[in-house]
C-alpha cells in the first residue's frame, strides 16, 4: 500500500551568519501492506513528521521515490491526494465553525457533491460519537473531541491510506484508549493506517508492524514481538529456595537457554520464547526434586529495542 525507496529531505537552517544543512530524512525505505496499522516510532526530531509530510504530498522530497495506494508520489501527487487522508499533529479546525460544517466543507474540497457531503458528515459524526456536539462551535470542544473531529475530517472521503501524526499526544489516558479503538475501527473498515508516535506503549499496543526511526534513518523494522525478540528474547527469572548451583548446572546445558545468570535467590535465564521455555524449565526442576519458589517471565520492552539499536533510551531522548 505504501512503498518508499531512499526517500530523502534536508532543510537549510540559519544560525546567525552560518547556514547549516540539516538532513532530516536520510534515505528511508519502507513497505506497508494493505490493511495494517504501521507505526513510526522515534524521539522528537527523528524525522518522523518530515517523512509523513513527504508521503502526504505536503513537502517535496529531495530524492528517492514512493508509491502510495498505487499512485506515484512525485509524478502524480494529485492522485495521491485523492487516495490518502492526513491528520496533522496540531489540529485543523476553525474555532467559530461546528464539526458538521467542517466535515461538509472538507468532503466538498474532495469534489463530493453537497447532498452526499451532508450524508457523509452525518455518518462520520455518528461513527466518531460527535453527534451530540455536532452543531456546537469547535472552540467549545475538549481536547479529545477536537482530536476525533480531526480524524473524522481525515477520513471523510474514504481514503485507502490515512496518515496520523501523533494522534494521541496531549490526550489523557482514557481519551487515548478511546482513540486506539477508533484507529482499530478504521483498520476494520479496510484502511491502511500509518501512525507516528513517541510513546512505546502505544506502538506496542496499537501497531501491527513498526519502524523505529532515529536521526533520519530507520534503525529497526518488524512486528513489536519480532523487534523485542531480536534484542534478547525473553527473560525468565526462577526463584529457588536453595539448590541454586545444581539447578544452574542442570539448566545451563539445555538448548533453549541462551544465557544463564545466577542472581540473589535464584536464576535468570535468557530464552528465545518464554512461553515455550517455562513448561520445560518447570518439568526439569520438578523432575530433579528441587523446590521451586517462584517463576516470572519478562518481556523486553520496545525501550530495550531502542536502547540496543541506538545506544540511547527513548525515555531519555
Amino acid at each position: 500500500m505504501i512503498e518508499t525507496k531512499s526517500l530523502r529531505k534536508s532543510f537549510r537552517s540559519r544560525q546567525g551568519r552560518e547556514t547549516k544543512t540539516v538532513e532530516a530524512v536520510r534515505g528511508v525505505d519502507l513497505f506497508v501492506s494493505e490493511g495494517e496499522i504501521f507505526g513510526f516510532l522515534g524521539p522528537n526530531g527523528a524525522g518522523k513528521t518530515t517523512t509523513l509530510r513527504m508521503l502526504a504530498t505536503l513537502i517535496e522530497p529531495d530524492g528517492g521515490e514512493a508509491t502510495i495506494a498505487g499512485a506515484d508520489l512525485r509524478r502524480n501527487s494529485g492522485e495521491v491526494r485523492r487516495r490518502i487522508g492526513y491528520v496533522a499533529q496540531g489540529g485543523s479546525t476553525w474555532d467559530e465553525v461546528s464539526a458538521r460544517e467542517e466535515l461538509v466543507l472538507h468532503a466538498r474540497m474532495y469534489g463530493i457533491g453537497k447532498a452526499e457531503a451532508q450524508q457523509r458528515a452525518v455518518r462520520a459524526l455518528d461513527a466518531f460519537q460527535l453527534t451530540e456536539y455536532a452543531d456546537r462551535k469547535c472552540k467549545t470542544y475538549s481536547g479529545g473531541q477536537r482530536r476525533r473531529v480531526d480524524i473524522a475530517l481525515g477520513v471523510i472521503h474514504d481514503p485507502k491510506v490515512v496518515f496520523l501524526d501523533e494522534p494521541t499526544t496531549g490526550l489523557d489516558p482514557q481519551s487515548r484508549a478511546h482513540m486506539w479503538d477508533e484507529i482499530r475501527r478504521l483498520r476494520a473498515e479496510g484502511m491502511t493506517i500509518f501512525v507516528t508516535t513517541h510513546y512505546l506503549e502505544e506502538a506496542d499496543a496499537l501497531c501491527d508492524r513498526l519502524a523505529i526511526m532515529d536521526y533520519g534513518e530507520i534503525v529497526a523494522e518488524g512486528t513489536p514481538d519480532e523487534l523485542k525478540r531480536e534484542v534478547a528474547g525473553d527473560v525468565v527469572t526462577v526463584g529457588l529456595n536453595g539448590s541454586t548451583p545444581e539447578a544452574a548446572q542442570m539448566l545451563d546445558s539445555e538448548s533453549y537457554v541462551n544465557k544463564l545468570e545466577t542472581v540473589e535467590g535464584g536464576l535468570r535465564l535468557y530464552v528465545d520464547q518464554g512461553a515455550t521455555a517455562i513448561p520445560q524449565i518447570l518439568r526439569k526442576i520438578d523432575g530433579a526434586g528441587i523446590h521451586l519458589g517462584t517463576i516470572e517471565l519478562h518481556r523486553p520492552s520496545l525501550d530495550d529495542v531502542f536502547l540496543e539499536k541506538t545506544g540511547r533510551s527513548l525515555r531519555e531522548s
Binding site: 485543523s92 467559530e96 466543507l105
Partner: protein, 248 residues
C-alpha cells in the same frame, strides 16, 4: 469549472467566518467613520471650499480609497492565524485548487469592502454628498480592484513571513507613506505631488473624485482603471505563484 466551484466553496466558508465574528469589519469601518465625523468638518475652512457639501464631495471619494487600502492590506494577519490553526495544511492535502484558496479569500475581502463602502457612502449623503448610480458603481469597481490587489499581496507576504511580528511593521511602513502620498487628506502640491505620481493610489483618488463629481469621461478615470487593473493582474500572478509554491 473546478476553479470556480472551489473558489465559491472557500468564499462561502470565509464569509461564514466573517459573519460569525464581524469585529474586524466593524473596526475596518471605524477609521473612515472617525475621519468623516472628526476630520471632515475641518475641511471647509482648510480648503476654502464655498460650502461644507463641496468639502465632503472632495473628501469622501478619497476616504473610500483609504477604506479599500487599509481594509485589504492587513488581511494577511488572518491567514497567519489560519496557518497556525492548521486549516491551511488541512486544505492542502485535499485536491482543492490552490488558486481557489487564494481567490476565495480575496473575494471575501472585496465583498466586505463593498459593504463597508456602501455604508460610508450612505452615511455621507446627509453631509451633502451627491453622486449618480452609474458613477458610484464604477468607483466601487475601482475599489474592488484595489481590494483584490492588496489582499492578494498581503496574503502572499503573510505566506512568506509567517509571523505577525514581521508582517505588522512591514505593512505599517508601507501603508503610511502610501496614504500621505495619495492626496486623500489634503490636495497635493509641490514636490510631494511629483512623488505622488508614482503612487497608484493617488491616481485612484483622482479618478474617484472625478466620478463623484459626475465626470466619468475624465482622463483620470480610464488611467486609474488601467493602472490598477494591470497592477492587480500582476499581484494576482505573484500571489498565486507563492500559494502554489508554499501551498504545494
Amino acid at each position: 469549472m473546478k476553479l470556480l466551484r472551489d473558489t465559491w466553496l472557500i468564499f462561502q466558508r470565509q464569509m461564514l467566518l466573517v459573519l460569525r465574528n464581524p469585529v474586524w469589519v466593524v473596526i475596518g469601518i471605524l477609521q473612515p467613520l472617525y475621519f468623516l465625523l472628526l476630520f471632515g468638518p475641518l475641511l471647509k475652512d482648510a480648503l476654502h471650499a464655498p460650502t461644507a457639501a463641496d468639502a465632503y464631495r472632495f473628501f469622501v471619494p478619497g476616504l473610500l480609497v483609504m477604506l479599500a487600502m487599509f481594509g485589504s492590506m492587513f488581511v494577511g494577519f488572518g491567514l497567519i492565524a489560519e496557518l497556525r490553526a492548521g486549516v491551511i495544511e488541512r486544505s492542502r492535502v485535499t485536491p482543492v485548487s490552490r488558486l481557489a484558496l487564494m481567490l476565495g479569500r480575496s473575494l471575501r475581502d472585496v465583498a466586505t469592502l463593498i459593504a463597508q463602502a456602501v455604508l460610508i457612502t450612505v452615511l455621507a449623503i446627509p453631509f451633502g454628498l451627491t453622486v449618480r448610480v452609474g458613477d458610484v458603481l464604477l468607483a466601487y469597481l475601482m475599489l474592488g480592484l484595489i481590494g483584490v490587489m492588496l489582499s492578494a499581496a498581503s496574503n502572499a507576504l503573510a505566506l512568506k513571513l509567517r509571523s505577525e511580528d514581521a508582517l505588522a511593521p512591514l505593512m505599517n511602513g508601507v501603508a503610511q507613506p502610501l496614504l500621505l502620498l495619495s492626496g486623500i487628506l489634503l490636495p497635493l502640491t509641490g514636490w510631494v505631488a511629483t512623488v505622488a505620481d508614482f503612487n497608484p493610489f493617488s491616481w485612484a483618488v483622482d479618478a474617484s473624485r472625478a466620478l463623484f463629481a459626475g465626470d466619468p469621461g475624465d482622463n483620470s478615470v480610464w488611467q486609474a482603471l488601467l493602472i490598477l487593473g494591470a497592477l492587480t493582474v500582476l499581484t494576482l500572478f505573484w500571489s498565486a505563484r507563492s500559494f502554489a509554491r508554499s501551498v504545494r
